[in-house]
């Protein structure tokens, strides 16, 4: 995998810059079934992002609105008429809450993934480059967190941050930080392994010989080369972030219904409805989660396959990981990398 990535730019006649962007270059490389999966994933992801962006325009009502000019909304009304997807027991409009939920999810993903990339990458770089006792300590800590059910880590973090209940931004931050703690070990591992591999490369050695400082080497020579797997981890973690957020919300650790819409929380409330045959309060937010995660995972998977077609045939001794994420295929690729280095 590493050799292809290093050699590629040389082989490439270097098309226009936009053709070399991560997802676009992958699209051009893809054929047949793989392209189909990539396109399906991109479409689902695009729908999710657009919904989140234009939530105020799409949603007919506010996420905590229970009445309009014509009076109070009915409770538990079946889909149809004014309320496209029906209303909940608390008279919330299901369609509006699902749409607003996309916005909450995007905010949490962005904050969580950006924070974990930032912290994980820095820790991984420093740990891998410096090595020694610091490296060993960090590896043991990261492994301990990594092996533990992510949802439990997130629960503990949520208690620590907000005591478990909070406002919109408080809730988003709490959820995002909880998820961040789960993800840091993953970025840390990958980047550390890459750094250790790169440290032995001749170009790093040459940089040392000409007297470049450690910071400069880390920043210029190692960082740029170590981060090429990041788009892949990003998409995979985005989907995992959604699932963790929904899990937290489902356990009542999400964001209060009056401060934002959150799919997991809505599903928790919908659970009580099922026994009386009310399906619309749970099915729609649930489908929203499934389709969003599906889209992101398809994109991530496709990128993974396209990054290294050889892996598909050669992969062996795969190991999964301790999270509820099951992206074993992609994970195997990363793990294979960790091993080979």
């Amino acid at each position: 995998m590493s050799t292809t990535a290093v050699i590629e730019p040389v082989k490439d006649p270097r098309g226009p810059w936009f053709r070399r962007l991560p997802v676009i270059s992958h699209f051009n490389k893809s054929v047949g079934l793989q392209r189909g999966m990539l396109v399906a994933g991109l479409v689902l992801t695009a729908v999710f992002l657009l919904t989140a962006m234009f939530a105020p325009l799409i949603a007919p009502f506010g996420f905590s609105q229970i009445s309009d000019a014509e009076g109070n909304f009915p409770s538990q009304q079946p889909p149809g008429g004014q309320h496209l997807w029906g209303t909940t027991v608390g008279s919330y409009d299901v369609f509006s809450r699902v749409v607003w939920g996309a916005q909450t999810a995007v905010l949490v993903i962005i904050v969580a993934v950006v924070m974990s990339i930032f912290i994980g990458v820095i820790l991984g770089l420093v740990s891998g480059y410096i090595g020694g006792g610091l490296d060993r300590t960090l590896v043991v800590i990261a492994d301990a967190i990594y092996a533990f059910p992510p949802l439990l880590v997130a629960i503990v973090m949520a208690i620590a941050i907000s005591g478990g209940r909070s406002s919109l931004w408080g809730g988003i931050l709490a959820a995002a930080i909880s998820i961040t703690v789960v993800f840091i070990p993953q970025y840390f591992r990958v980047i550390r392994a890459e750094t250790i591999r790169l440290k032995a490369e001749p170009f790093v050695e040459s940089a040392k010989v000409v007297g470049a400082s450690n910071i400069r080497i880390m920043r210029l020579h190692v960082f740029k080369n170590a981060t090429r797997t990041l788009p892949l981890i990003f998409t995979l973690n985005a989907s995992e972030a959604i699932l963790t957020l929904a899990g937290l919300g489902f356990l009542g650790f999400g964001i209060e219904p009056t401060s934002a819409a959150e799919w997991g929380f809505d599903l928790n409330k919908a659970l009580a409805d099922t026994t009386s045959g009310i399906w619309w309060t749970g099915v729609f937010p649930g489908l929203a989660i499934v389709l969003t995660v599906l889209g992101l995972t398809l994109v991530g998977e496709s990128i993974n396959d396209l990054n290294d077609p050889r892996l598909r045939g050669r992969k062996k001794a795969v190991s999964g990981k301790g999270g509820p994420d099951s992206s074993t295929g992609a994970q195997a690729a990363l793990e294979a990398e960790v091993r080979s280095s």
Binding site: D143, A144, T297, A317, D325, S326, T328
Partner: protein
Amino acid sequence: MTTLIEAPPTDGEGLLPIKKKTSGGGLGRYILIRFFLIFPTILILVTMVFFLMRTTGDPITAALGGRLPPEQLQERITAAGYDRPIFVQYFEYLAQLITGNFGTTLSDNRPVAEMLATYGAATLELTINALLVALVVGIPLGLIAAHRRDKGPDAGLRVFAILCYATPVFFSGLLFKLTFSVWLGWLPVAGRATPANELALTALESPTGIYWLDAIRSANMAALADVIAHSILPALALGLLTAGIFLRLVRTNVIGTLGKDYVEAGRSRGVSEYRLVTKHAYKPALIPIITVMGLQIAVLLGGAVLTETTFEWKGLGFQLATYLTARDFVAVQGIVVLLAVIVAVTNFFVDILAALIDPRVRY
């Protein structure tokens, strides 16, 4: 955890030097090193959980604040020793843990250890059931996908695997409940057994707490049928989450082994495609599955928390959610610590198993 397998040689944990040439003594030494690695893992998690849970304040204020007058609150805090320096409390907590004392829950005032013992069995039962579902669904489908690689069935199964992962257990649980319990009326909505059977099973002499085992032991067939009916939906919801992982794992590994020379040799001898897939390619592909099966314990335990809440399955996860709502952080801490111990110990056994099967792991 895989890095832990490799940690001793690469990172040289400093515990014991590993000689490349030992063949007989290697395993014993590896087991020893691996065994001692359990403790830092547990210690790190316990420490993390302890200090994080305390950042919001003492557990008594969290659980009872606002419900008791300030003086009484203060009195209870002093009585429980929560006003002492945090490090004193931390070391006291560690000392208690070693003796198996997990403290007393605040909301219903029972020993945490007793609570863990009561509900642990239910979680164990659910996890075993789910693992069975995952294997029964995942392995055959994985074989099919590998056999029909890049054809229609493979594409379908890969999407199925991603769907398994993309569907949160509480949503698949909700769908199953709607379909099979509410609309079709085939299976019970929630719980582990009907109240009458539950009473009968818990009244047994030294019950294991695993209901189907208890039902078989007491030869109570009606209860067994009832317990199985209650188990199906939760086991499906949680099992499918992992089934997707097994499917993909079997697929990639069998594809890998199918490309090997000995499979080609078998094919040239006229061995049937079916036999090639199920015998020649499948068996070597099993090794990584055993490793991952252990790693899935963590996933299953995490998923169990959500599944139990969905199906009111009275196990550790259900209790965890209840105590979270009651803001009883002593109980929460106890459950989380127990799960940490379980995960660490399982990973230890998995690594040992992997080393027994594949000697290369040790070096």
